[in-house]
């Protein structure tokens, strides 16, 4: 693949047309840590129309590096959303039927309050004085948004990876609010291996002299650290098989090794490109805060989770990917097992794909098919009053 092609501007298209970011602010949010975040702004986008009964809302939760721009053309960047193939007219999340909402998480850097926001009390950016946040806090903020939109009950909560953690947390905290839940390529709790990768990423950022203890906003940017963090992340999102397929042992420019300390292999060049482009669009402190939120994620002991989920009416579709070694299928199976113990209605599919964790973000008919039919059948049942 020629990386330079990716840099050239191409005009992207979407059946949804332009999608604009909207903002909603509220006074304060008590966080899981006990601290109070104030004030709070949530950046969100919506697609489709909320019906009169308000029973067709879908909340999509984004992953670590995502944002509210799930589909359509961004007014700012001109780019399509991160789950463009899943959201739109006649797509899996069918905007002809459903009202889709996607909000940037708190702690993020795409419009919702995060460490790069201005703290009104000091007139300066929060930096690392921003309070620690958790997945539960993200959900509390999302629920405030739902209240603001006057949506009592959502038809579906869906998301992959960290988005899936939010889905699980939402059902855990507000089981009556969610009719169907779609946690994809995710886990009930972050494991030591997953925490370890995040820790290395954070150390890369904090070890960058440009980080300045998080107070870099007027001084520069820890681009090198964030870029390395993203490169590590990307390795964990791919798989041995997908890397072999995509890059092999091919060299970037030459036929022979140049025996110099350059990025010689295509795989290296790809990671470098990924790291460098990430730096253009993501705040290093947000990366620290959000990865910590992910690491703190632990829905509890299985016994407690089963107790909590017992008797809930939410219907689940759990999806995993065969080559995902970051959130391997066994973790999804554990979600299924816990739900079954709690006698919750759960459908599970492990999709075979050579892609790794990233698979849920890459267009694939299997995921589209499962989500579309699962939702349409569930929605039909509501309409039939069952």
């Amino acid at each position: 693949m020629n990386m330079r092609d990716k840099n050239t501007k191409k005009i992207e298209e979407s059946p949804l047309g332009i999608s604009e970011v909207k903002y909603f602010s509220f006074d304060s949010l008590v966080l899981e840590s006990g601290e109070v975040l104030s004030p709070v702004t949530i950046a969100y986008e919506t697609y489709g129309t909320l019906n009169e009964k308000k029973d067709n809302a879908i909340l999509i939760c984004h992953a670590l590096s995502g944002d509210s721009h799930v589909a359509g053309i961004s007014k700012e960047t001109g780019k399509v959303g991160w789950w463009e193939f899943m959201v739109g007219p006649n797509r899996a999340f069918d905007t002809n039927k459903y009202f889709v909402i996607c909000a940037n998480v708190i702690g993020g850097c795409k419009g919702s309050t995060g460490p790069s926001s201005i703290n009104p009390k000091t007139g300066k950016r929060w930096g690392i004085s921003f309070p620690a946040i958790t997945i539960k806090d993200m959900i509390e903020a999302h629920v405030k948004l739902l209240d603001y939109l006057k949506i009592e009950k959502i038809f579906c909560a869906a998301g992959g990876s960290m988005g899936g953690m939010q889905v699980l947390q939402l059902v855990y905290s507000y089981p009556d609010k969610v009719v169907t839940a779609l946690p994809i390529a995710t886990t009930l709790r972050h494991t030591p291996q997953q925490i370890a990768f995040n820790e290395v990423g954070r150390r890369a950022i904090m070890g960058d002299p440009e980080w300045h203890n998080g107070d870099y906003y007027d001084k520069g940017f820890p681009a090198n650290g964030l870029s390395v963090a993203r490169m590590i992340g990307h390795i964990t999102y791919m798989s041995d098989a997908s890397m072999k397929e995509k890059f092999g042992r091919r060299l970037k420019n030459n036929e022979n090794y140049d025996f110099e300390l350059n990025t010689e292999f295509e795989v290296g060049e790809y990671l470098k490109y990924r790291g460098e482009s990430f730096v253009q669009r993501f705040d290093a402190n947000s990366y620290l805060y959000i990865t910590r939120a992910i690491d703190y994620f632990d829905l509890g002991d299985n016994k407690d989770i089963i107790k909590r989920f017992s008797g809930i009416k939410t219907k689940f579709l759990v999806i995993s990917y065969s080559h995902d070694w970051l959130y391997p299928p066994y973790q999804s199976k554990e979600i299924v097992r816990v739900l079954k113990y709690a006698l919750v209605d759960v459908t599970y599919c492990e999709i075979s794909s050579t892609y790794g964790h990233d698979a849920f973000l890459i267009k694939n008919e299997e995921q589209e098919f499962l989500v579309k039919h699962f939702l349409d059948n569930a929605y039909q049942r509501i309409k039939n009053g069952k």
Partner: protein, 197 residues
């Protein structure tokens, strides 16, 4: 629409309205769909073939993509009114364990399988000297998913040894119930099993 699956018709007659059902090796979910629509059954399927999962989800059938040989530890005792093993048992690695697990989680278990003592099967082996390929055993020897071949007599003996009660068994060939020497004239069979207490 005429249903060509006589086994489905028999099972639909056995299972009472509103029952809770677990279908092990539910395939494309057609039986569970019929049970839901005709008998108002609340059903769950387990299936190992990914392609079949898509067909189940398309029909709105709740299904889990997993291997029944790994056990059914996630269901409480006697949780289901019926556990169905419709032409599944002969494909499992450990049929004995699967039957006992099914009897643990279900009040009754419905087991169906191709009868290996059916006269055309006997003819194929005994006279032609060939591994049988019949409508109940459609695969060539090298392509069959079946791991176990057994007969109605074998299964009755097995149940006796395992202290499993046979409520009833229905042998059939095509769309006809076979009452006369079923171990010879029935191509397929459906057993209804339970355990004491």
């Amino acid at each position: 629409m005429v249903n060509e699956r006589f086994d489905y018709e028999i099972i639909l007659k056995i299972i009472e309205r509103g029952s809770k059902v677990l279908d092990l090796g539910c395939g494309d979910g057609e039986l569970l769909r019929l049970l839901r629509e005709k008998n108002d059954v609340k059903g769950v399927g387990i299936e190992n073939d990914e392609e079949m999962i898509y067909k189940c989800v398309e029909k709105g059938v709740t299904v889990e993509h997993s291997d029944i040989d790994e056990g059914l530890p996630d269901f409480p005792d006697k949780f289901f009114d019926y556990v169905i093993l419709n032409f599944t048992l002969q494909e499992t690695k450990k049929p004995k364990e699967v039957i006992h697990e099914s009897l643990r989680v279900g009040k009754k278990v419905i087991v169906s399988f191709p009868n290996f003592a059916f006269y055309l099967v006997r003819y194929s082996i005994g006279i032609l000297g060939k591994t049988p390929q019949t409508s109940a055993l459609p695969y060539r020897w090298d392509e069959t998913p079946n791991l176990h071949y057994f007969t109605i007599s074998d299964f009755i003996e097995f149940c006796k040894a395992e202290k499993i009660i046979i409520d009833e068994f229905i042998g059939f060939t095509g769309r006809k119930v076979v009452k006369f020497i079923p171990n010879f004239f029935a191509e397929k069979v459906i057993f209804i099993l339970r355990k004491e207490n």
